[in-house]
Amino acid sequence: MKQDFRRSMGWLHTWAGVVLGSILFAIFWMGTLSVFDCEIDLWMKPATRVAPAHTLLPLERFRSSLDEAIAAKASFWNVTFPSDRDAVFHTRYGTRKKMISRDIDPVTGRMLPDSGTLGATEFIFPFHYTLNIELMSLGEWIVGLASMAMLALCITGVIIHRKIFVDFFTFRPHANPRRMLLDLHNISGVLGLPFHIILTFSGLVILGATYFPAGVNAVYPNTRAYFFESNGLSFLSVKHGKPGAPVVSLDEAAMRARSLWGGDDPHLVLVANPGMTTSRIAFFRGSERQVVVDRDVIAFDGSTGQLISRASRLTPIMRAQRFLSGLHLIEFRQWVLRWLYFLLGLGSCVLIATGFLFWLESRRKRQGTQIGFRLVEGIAAGSITGIILATLAFFIANRLLPAGARFCGLERASLEVSAFYLVWLAACVHGWLRPRQVWIVQCAAIGLLASVAVVLNWITTGDHPLRTFFVRYLWPVGGMDALLLTGAALSFLAALYLSRRAGHREVAIRSARGEAI
């Protein structure tokens, strides 16, 4: 009975991993990169590489942008304040047709040139939880399914691990490749288990209203009402109003918000229905000093400046939910934890990749020529080394495309995304067509593309690694270059190791044939 249970768990672990492994790797890879989304943005948007301001600009400096939003009949307008990870202001407004975003110099208040990229905050981070599939929120549902599978994989993995305590620290790098892969899979799985479980579970909690709407539907008339109340946005439930109403001084309203918070600064200022009689000015407090995401929103009437609402204190259940969201979203200011998340995220990627590779190595002799095996090998290559290559292509396209580039009706930002998908597809096809060489070639290609990205950053911006390490506000750029170079070195080493191993194997086969003759 016990053996049957373990066997059935083993079956579930194997097939859930093989079927959803590609999606899980994409989610974890993009999530790991999202840990440094602002820093990647700084690398991809050279115009925003400016020194931080010592004092904040008055909000009235953005009045012309607000007037522009009113003239465009925007439904909202907002300003994001600089932080220690992002030195510039960002203004944004949305009309029915499009969203206009601008980066503002924190010292002069001048508009910075448009970088023509989605960067990490608008491509890599959304990809992490939507896979860029917006049709009927299908992407979110697939991510939810994969996350549930990940939890099942963690639990079944523990059940089928026969000697979990005996092999707790066991890693045999000099054993045969299959053994080594299993050891690596085990230590990255078991030792990183708290991270895998907590991050997967908190991800499900963040999108809980989508996956488990029954609880929300039982209490609220619709999801929108739940969203407004739980986020302190009840002031948004107003009718459109009539146009022509002025918006009161933003600085005076900001001063009142600061005094209500006891001196804390806002992270974001939102004007809803700008220019309408029902306009609202809302201030969202920054929550960088705590794990719990508690924005404490204060809203004023836009045309009279009268205080309308302040978010109520979080209930214990909501506080628990916000703690879990907070530890997943890492909006807090804790550099050590940010790096630890990054390293552990890479550990999760290693876990998924070694799972795939172990499956392939275990079946290579028996099923190596079967179409199903080759299909999985192609998908595995595409989803492991392929997505890394695609990400590097995204970075390289960012440095190579000229400003304002257009091709086949696609704008610059869309061209970068197209480069990502084309390279990803090519990596999958390559994996299917050239299974013997795929890992060697793609590892070498990763090394090459990562080095090229660093060189291109130097050529196109003049920010070479030596300069970025000596200028404080360029450290994020230097950090990204350093990580790219480290990744390149590791990839070249992996390619070298794999090609040597393939060479030894070929020599052994030839000598065996020679002996037989």
């Binding site: 005996v166 707790f168 620290f169 066991t170 890693f171 045999r172 790098p173 050891d183 230590i187 990255s188 030792l191 990183g192 288990l193 708290p194 991270f195 907590i198 705590q290 794990v291 719990v292 703690f323 907070g326 530890l327 807090f332 804790q334 550099w335 050590v336 934890l337 630890l340 998340y341 390293l343 552990l344 550990g347």
Partner: protein
């Protein structure tokens, strides 16, 4: 900078805790070229190791608060345990002095 030093100290504490736990296992003692510990001694070392891990949690929570402290401790636990496993895999002799220290104490106790 202070944050980094604190985290480094905490990480070191957890690393020592996990190294002690690993060095009570026969396979890792063999890898470090030391003899197996008697069961009683192994239990004592494991208790000390667990105490170190718990103490690290207390210090982290006291210094960084409940939320950050717990996250820092949990993340460092995974990372330092991986560090111990990788060192035992690639360069086990680096932990040999620690493994021998456990034996030395044992020899002294036996003499007494």
């Amino acid at each position: 900078m202070v944050d980094c030093l604190f985290s480094f100290g905490l990480g070191l504490m957890l690393f020592v805790g996990f190294a002690l736990l690993a060095l009570t296992q026969f396979v890792h003692r063999r890898a470090t070229g030391t003899a197996e510990l008697p069961p009683r001694r192994a239990t004592q070392v494991r208790l000390v190791a667990i105490l170190l891990l718990v103490l690290a949690l207390v210090i982290a929570v006291q210094n960084e608060g409940g939320g950050f402290g717990f996250l820092l401790w949990a993340s460092l636990m995974s990372l330092t345990a991986c560090g111990v496993a990788l060192i035992l895999g690639y360069r086990p002799y680096l932990l040999a002095p620690v493994a021998r220290t456990l034996e030395k104490d044992l020899n002294r106790q036996t003499r007494l």
